[in-house]
């Protein structure tokens, strides 16, 4: 499922990139116990919910988190750390990159586009959630896809179906998104790499190529459930 050295998650804001990136890094840790696994939080657009929030959990799993310089502070300054270059210098590492949402979030990747294209083997996955109000049609997804590719200077290699409405999601909600995802992949001319789904729902959908994930509600960070 994650068979490239670098996996990049990009897409519309609120599509679930951060949660997927954290789950992906943990999955890589499990599959490659002897490799350095890096989770690079490159979201410098949204200072509220970020991979960096999970730094303690990830450190406990021996995953290196590279976060924006002012992550989790009161300073809303979009600065990336030089440490990000270690993703490219350390060719034996495995890296997961969590980009910010939309084209505005994708600009941060532009600095590394040349390194990615010429010196790395990567997947850039377009994260799509049918239940997000601004990406309910394949046309709107394709529009955002193009905007992100222009901003990042990197093109997508596949689509991830992350259709959900939070912890209340049912297997039927996921099934209801499949027709839409089929049209998204056709219009964007990209393969569907997997459908991500809460681990406890996975057994309901054996016919799908699923990636079982742990889901964190955004409110949980603040004691709201």
């Amino acid at each position: 499922m994650f068979d490239k050295r670098i996996t990049i998650f990009a897409g519309h804001y609120g599509s679930g990139k951060t949660n997927l990136a954290v789950n992906c890094a943990v999955a890589l840790r499990g599959s490659f116990p002897n490799k350095r696994v890096i989770l690079a939080d490159m979201d410098i657009v949204n200072p509220y919910f970020k991979s960096a929030d999970e730094a303690t959990y990830l450190a406990g799993k021996n995953i290196d988190v590279i976060a924006p310089v002012f992550a989790n502070t009161n300073l809303d300054a979009p600065a990336l750390p030089g440490e990000l270059f270690s993703i490219f210098h350390d060719q034996s590492s495995l890296a997961v990159i969590d980009l910010g949402g939309d084209d505005r979030g994708a600009y941060a990747l532009g600095r590394f586009a040349e390194l990615l294209i010429n010196h790395a083997i990567y997947d850039m996955l377009l994260v799509v959630n049918y239940y997000r109000p601004l990406t309910r049609t394949p046309q709107s997804v394709c529009g955002i896809k193009t905007e992100i590719e222009v901003a990042a200077g990197v093109t997508f290699t596949g689509v991830v179906n992350n259709s959900n409405i939070g912890v209340a999601t049912t297997a039927q909600d996921v099934l209801n998104s499949m027709e839409y995802i089929k049209r998204v992949t056709e219009q964007c001319d990209l393969p569907l790499v997997f459908t991500s789904i809460k681990k406890d729902l996975e057994h309901f959908l054996p016919e799908l190529n699923t990636f079982g994930i742990n889901v964190t509600e955004t409110g949980e960070k603040y004691g709201i459930v």
């Binding site: 919910f49 997000r132 109000p133 409405i165 004691g223």
Partner: protein, 354 residues
């Protein structure tokens, strides 16, 4: 009713569009920027106007102009930006114009920080500008309510010809929850015979103005406005009660703090402590009657707020200080844990009300 997954900020924006608000003037500031971003994507496609002004001062005066022309209009900001708007909000109130203003609060004072806060309670309920006036203040505590109360805000603003504010915070603005927008229904619309829509030579000019040259006239216009405020106080109080029927201790909390408080109440109830919650949904008019009716039957009240004792004043005023009222405060972008609220309730249950 199909659900979608939305951020609180997006829910406000989409609900405003549902309420036929097709014009938006604003200026970006964390943690409310998604409202403007959403409007910038949607409004041009609907034939409306999205304009990023050069400042919050310009935004609020554009709001005044659009409201005077009879448009349903909204702006949004976060704490420091609302301070900048305060002169314009007072002018809007003085002109008896309806509009919706969203404040997704962050830590203060000053530039403060970008994390959630409720420290603009006094500003919203007491003095969102100079002079004798009020804004209707609505305090959602979920993403669904961010949507629902936005519709209510437009309705009340038009009904009473005054500013209505959605007072949220960074948590509510940023968190995502399932929402349905189907239940909101068709917006209530109002005739606006006072709007400056052009006379076409067929009627007298409508004049929108907050300058009244004679003090006698200014006093009369204030009296008239306060007659309207009296009706609003009587008819528009909204609140929610949670486990109050048998409660010995009542928590007062609104917005995100009320969600954390509910978790704390569940925790102490497992230990046999009868705590409940009164959640003001309108902060102005304050649901004073809801609190007053408990003043004779509970041990006391705890004001759980992300501010240094602002909501607590309204709890004291509405309960006549018949019972102790104590404060459980976090501030500066910090948020209560359910555990620390539970500790405060357990202490109060033992008679410790400091």
């Amino acid at each position: 009713m199909e659900k979608v997954l939305m951020k609180g900020n997006e829910a406000i924006a989409e609900a405003a569009i549902n309420a036929r608000c097709l014009h938006f003037f604003g200026y970006p500031i964390t943690p409310q920027t998604e409202i403007a971003a959403y409007m910038s994507r949607r409004l041009p496609k609907l034939g409306g106007v999205y304009l990023q002004a050069e400042s919050e001062i310009a935004s609020i005066n554009m709001v005044l102009g659009a409201a005077a022309a009879g448009a349903r209009i909204m702006t949004s900001s976060s704490s420091p930006g609302i301070s900048l708007m305060s002169e314009g909000i007072s002018y809007i109130a003085g002109c008896d114009l309806p509009c919706v203003i969203v404040n997704i609060q962050r830590g203060g004072p000053g530039l403060g920080g970008i994390q959630p806060s409720q420290a603009d309670y006094f500003q919203a309920t007491r003095s969102s500008g100079h002079g004798d006036f009020h804004s209707i203040v609505l305090a959602p505590n979920s993403v669904q309510e961010m949507a629902d109360l936005t519709g209510v805000a437009f309705d009340l603003a038009d009904k009473y010809r005054m500013p209505a504010m959605i007072l949220g915070d960074g948590i509510l603005g940023q968190m995502m929850e399932p929402v349905t927008l189907d239940g909101i229904g068709e917006p209530v619309t109002y005739d606006k015979p006072w709007a400056t829509t052009g006379t076409r030579g067929a009627r007298e000019h409508n004049i929108i103005n907050s300058l009244i040259l004679k003090p006698e006239g200014l006093e009369q216009s204030n009296f008239k406005r306060f007659e309207r405020y009296a009706i609003i106080k009587r008819e528009e109080q909204l609140h929610e009660e949670y486990l109050t029927d048998d409660a010995d201790i009542i928590i007062a909390a609104y917005g995100a703090a009320s969600r954390v408080s509910k978790n704390a109440i569940k925790m102490v109830r497992e230990r046999g402590i009868k705590a409940g919650l009164i959640r003001p949904i309108t902060l102005w008019p304050f649901p004073a009657e809801a609190f007053a009716k408990f003043a004779d039957r509970v041990k006391g009240f705890i004001s759980v707020e992300m501010s240094m004792g602002q909501l607590i004043d309204d709890v004291k005023l509405s309960t006549g200080q018949k019972r102790p009222v104590t404060l459980c405060a976090r501030t500066g972008g910090m948020v209560h844990t359910p555990e620390e609220i539970a500790k405060k309730i357990m202490a109060a249950d033992k008679g410790e009300w400091q």
